[in-house]
Symmetry: C3
Subunit: 265 residues, 3 copies
């Protein structure tokens, strides 16, 4: 069974979680999604989890820990999500919104508060629930434990929503929801509403930016827009850093005016 890990731990700490998991389920196939989420950045962690988890096979358990409230009264939670095709994904982590966009993107989901202390490690550190609560819970679920065994279903879990960009007669309005490691700007404007053709021109911050299929179609250092691999409208700079080029950070507004299409010229 596959178990993925996502955290803001950086180096060193994920290994303890892996040791605990392998002690409970020696057959777990552990895959790191990322341990370089900016520290305490629940928003970025939720985006990365949402856009990565869906590529894993059914029955994968995703343990995610971006957890500024560890040791306070925030609840530990586990979610079970089912895709329209019947694939099941489990999500284990803190009740701070981190898991919810990923669970929702899979399909129908239910959330349980984790309260069954018999499944925890014997000494729960107040600062490392990743190792002492989330890792053992995830390992037990990967061995077949039913999610209803971990606690009680809840409905007042903390939600997190990236919003949905909108299309007007002459523009797209959205916001930055992710800056990838290359500086590409991912917006919340879904590919489904974007009916642009190769070479159409958008105007962003006063700059005319072509809509292309990929980076290599414009010159080095030139900006472009495209439908990125996450399924959203992205703004990029070929072999450059769009976040710096346009001076954008997470949650900044993006307005892209339809300028003129190549077909009209």
């Amino acid at each position: 069974m596959v178990i993925t890990l996502l955290s803001d731990f950086g180096d060193v700490y994920p290994a303890s979680m892996k040791g605990v998991i392998l002690g409970i389920n020696p057959d777990a196939n552990i895959v790191d999604i990322s341990h370089s989420i900016p520290r305490h950045d629940i928003h970025t962690g939720a985006f990365v989890l949402m856009t990565s988890a869906k590529y894993f096979p059914t029955d994968t358990v995703h343990i995610a820990v971006v957890d500024p409230g560890v040791g306070t009264n925030r609840r530990p939670v586990a979610a079970r999500a089912q895709s329209p095709d019947g694939d099941i994904h489990y999500f284990i982590g803190p009740d701070n919104g981190l898991l919810i966009p990923a669970a929702r993107s899979i399909g129908k989901f239910e959330v349980y508060e984790i309260i069954n202390r018999k499944l925890f490690r014997s000494n729960v550190s107040s600062v490392f629930h990743g190792k002492d609560i989330f890792a053992p819970i995830g390992a037990h679920i990967s061995k077949g434990l039913g999610i209803e065994e971990v606690g009680t279903e809840i409905f007042d879990f903390i939600d997190l929503d990236f919003g949905t960009g909108i299309k007007t007669a002459d523009s797209f309005l959205g916001k930055v929801i992710f800056l990838d490691p290359f500086g590409n700007i991912v917006t919340n404007i879904s590919s489904r509403g974007v009916e642009l053709n190769f070479g159409d021109i958008l105007e962003i911050e006063g700059i005319k930016v072509p809509f292309l299929n990929s980076y290599g179609f414009c010159r080095e250092g030139e900006p472009l827009t495209l439908i990125g691999s996450h399924g959203f409208l992205e703004i990029a700079v070929n072999q450059g850093n769009a976040a710096r080029f346009f001076d954008k950070k997470i949650d900044d507004e993006i307005i892209a005016y339809l300028s003129f299409s190549k077909a009209c010229t």
Copy 2:
């Protein structure tokens, strides 16, 4: 069987070790503890190994390479440690102290000089014993080779000791033994001697610092002390970097005066 790797190699070189291991034991489950130990920092490597190895299941083989003396006359060694519960951990690496705190923290241990060249790769590079000696030795042990087959037991191995902080009538005296990736200051004052209650106040460098259960109980940017996940007294700054806040580095002295407890106010 689980094999962990720890090194100061950064990127690229660990992959060659993994290739060699999988060539000998295709069933090895290889887990990285860290490859970002500061270069040649045996002390930090030993601390990370000591605090991570114990979470892995019995019969795990830990290969650790922070090895400024590679290719000189420093000896390659293998250790076998047994916990009070009967768990066995193996440690493979250079004889420079790196492995010893981890082996000792498990329990009783014995150390062997690695001399059986039949177990090495055929061409031993003088600069990469990780690939040519430690990886194959670890892979063979993970397949069941007895540690006595690798060489001869020795008793004059190089030791490394983090010391033990002490408690006086009105203070704790210790030193910095680790700065974690978040800048948290880990001292060598063991949790066993620390009988503090939530809200008790310590005075460190003239600053009054509360003893709390976790980071989230004080405001952002404020310092606190706590028992960290490693089992030692730690000094942290909520969402900040304690090493910079207190200007501390490894081996610096830490004096924490008992100020007054909440119970007295």
Copy 3:
């Protein structure tokens, strides 16, 4: 079966490739060679693949993606290489030279253009062939699919060659082909032509540099030359950074004059 991954993706994106692979071949043993190749640096990616792949066991599938031309008309390719000992290695990636030095270093090899779209993911992103083409092709080959099933053999693939340093009567002439994470300078002067003895002196950029077996034989901060673990003449600085010391970057010329040997003094 082992599948290795190499890319310039940094964080986050490799996880999607792993999810896709495990969905096709749940028994794949995935090993990261590196995801920190400098962005779009095909040359460095090719060197790292060439010097790492050979340590993996027979039938390993190496998926490598440093791909500035993704989404343009550059072809996806798969190569099958056989060593003199009969070991087989597969290489999957873009047709830009990235795979060829590695395939050639194994032995005889053949290259196929990947055209069998039935093996791709159903929606191929124009910017992430790693996930949608290379990962599924690699996973299918790791399950036993014959390479001739992926497409058509080609002979006009893009090649990449590191050249071969030469030895004159009184010097070695070569160039920098890799700077490792420690700043060691790897040249294209093969160990086979280097008949130097411990303590011989080379003169590089006017500085007398001893030929030694390993870093620890000279003082901290002093330069040395050695045969590195890659099998080439390397220039290093003990506990320092040779690339900065000699101000060298990839492709820079290296001239090392034979100064005088210890035997003559």
